[in-house]
């Protein structure tokens, strides 16, 4: 099958990465993982499998207890990594424009200098005309769009997303899934996407890394062998059903559940 998500070599290799917290909780043990340039990689797993911890390590928000993050290619600067949280995490006192401007502002870019970039990224997430709204005037989906725009405004080479759509209703989530995919195909940044939804990970990613809990570790990996662009039709296709069944069975194995007759992919909490 034609793989639109052609990747060109590793961008980051996690080598035996472990993380133990101060209270002796082993969040990650011996994690090995390769993230290629242009990947849309999903980290799929149940609660407590350390997927968010892994994301924070990659972001540089905490450092590994053991092992190594082996970055390839040009060194990553502050503006090369974007982060989107589970909640929109916007500053409630600031307008949409000011929220999106923030990463540039912290680098000393003035309002006037930032305006073209902010306007462009707001257009990409379909929020043109909402520059002067404040977060509480927006719906949940729109707030998440602002959050994504803020993650992308510095044109990062790596976008880290921590269950960004988990709190949204299904209709909004599907819409944002499609919009995110379109953006990714257009811009070709690398995405690491943390989720506990099999459906979402299959729809979005070209690779899924399944993680297991206690201690957090990589359990298995799966190529999502379906071409991009993927539209809403893909959600109801044979391929999609087949792929979700496969991902689901890996996940269930990772959770130590026997994969019996009639087992069907499910959203895990």
């Amino acid at each position: 099958m034609a793989q639109a998500a052609a990747t060109d070599g590793p961008q980051l290799i996690l080598r035996s990465v472990g993380k133990t917290f101060g209270n002796d909780v082993v969040a990650l043990r011996d994690v090995n993982m390769t993230i290629n340039h242009g990947d849309f990689l999903s980290l799929l797993g149940p609660s407590g499998c350390g997927k968010s911890t892994a994301l924070r390590l990659v972001a540089g928000l905490s450092s590994p207890t053991s092992g190594l993050l082996d970055w390839r290619g040009p060194p990553m600067g502050k503006s090369d990594v974007g982060f989107v949280f589970q909640e929109p995490t916007l500053m409630p006192w600031a307008t949409v424009f000011e929220n999106v401007w923030l990463p540039l502002r912290l680098q000393g870019v003035s309002r006037a200098e930032a305006t073209p970039q902010v306007s462009e990224v707001l257009a990409q997430v379909n929020l043109t005309g909402f520059e002067n709204a404040v977060p509480r005037e927006l719906s949940g989906g729109m707030k998440m769009r602002v959050s994504i725009a803020r993650g992308l405004v510095t044109r990062p080479r790596l976008l880290l997303m921590d269950e960004p759509f988990a709190a949204l209703d299904e209709i909004t989530r599907f819409q944002l899934n499609s919009d995110l995919l379109a953006l990714w195909e257009q811009e070709r940044f690398t995405v690491i996407f943390v989720t506990h939804s099999v459906f979402e990970s299959v729809f979005l990613s070209n690779r899924i890394v399944v993680m297991a809990a206690h201690p957090g570790r990589v359990y298995g990996e799966m190529e999502v062998d379906a071409p991009y662009p993927r539209d809403e039709q893909f959600r109801t296709s044979e391929d999609y059903a087949h792929l979700t069944r496969k991902a689901s069975s890996i996940l269930r194995a990772a959770m130590g559940i026997e994969d019996g007759e009639g087992a069907h992919p499910d959203v895990l909490h």
Partner: protein, 289 residues
Amino acid sequence: MSFTDTRSHAAHEEVPIDAEEARRARARRLEKTGRWLFPMLIMVLAIIMWDRICVWNEIPRYILPRPGEVLATLITDRGLLFSSLLTTLKITFLSLLLAVLGGVGLSVLFTQSKWVEMSFFPFAVILQVTPIVAIFPLINIYVDNQTAKLLLCAWIVAFFPILSNTTLGLNSVDRNLLDLFKLNGASRWQTLWHLRLPASMPYFLGGLKIAGGLALIGAVVAEFVAGTSGQSSGLASRIIEAGYRLNAPRLFAALILISFTGILIFLVLTWISNRILRRWHESALKQEH
């Protein structure tokens, strides 16, 4: 890409409403008028009762003057009373200003280091819980300048709510936003200016509202214990003086002025707070239902 988020419809569409909704709307309108009408009515009734009691019981004016006499005193003694009011206001606002500077300054200092906060916060608490009247004799010994005495006194009373509220606010920042700032390499100063200070604004304004009232109380109490007299003295001195001279109408007039000042301070600070917070904070949002 298509965009499906719905936007709110215009609120003033003319649609026929059912009996229940009509009843609700009527009740809402009534409540809106009643909110200020009823307190006013009770107030007027109370004043009339006050007047009647004076007349019926033939109470002498040096014990309880009639409302009309108090009003007359407010007008005839206005020169004296308003210059005193001005003195009290000056002390109140200066001490409130110093309380804001001191309270915010200290709380910013506290959030820069957990150690500073842990070491110095107890002193602020001690200063707060010790009654100002008990501290005043000491201030009287160490400070010569009359205005400085009063200011210091009112400041001690007023600064604590600002300090404790602002400290709480500066520490109540969304952890994810802090991570975001860290991720973007924000300096300590940038984090303070763009994140911690705006986030603490509702807390600070809550503290300011309390401090405004306390500054007035502090100014009046300080003057009571300082026992000043003469032309430049404030409303508290007028009250003491009028008490000695059994000039009850003036005593009441001064008291009413102090009360109105307190109400005015509260209203102004509430208005400022709503102006600042109205676009984003729950406390300042208009009820929509």
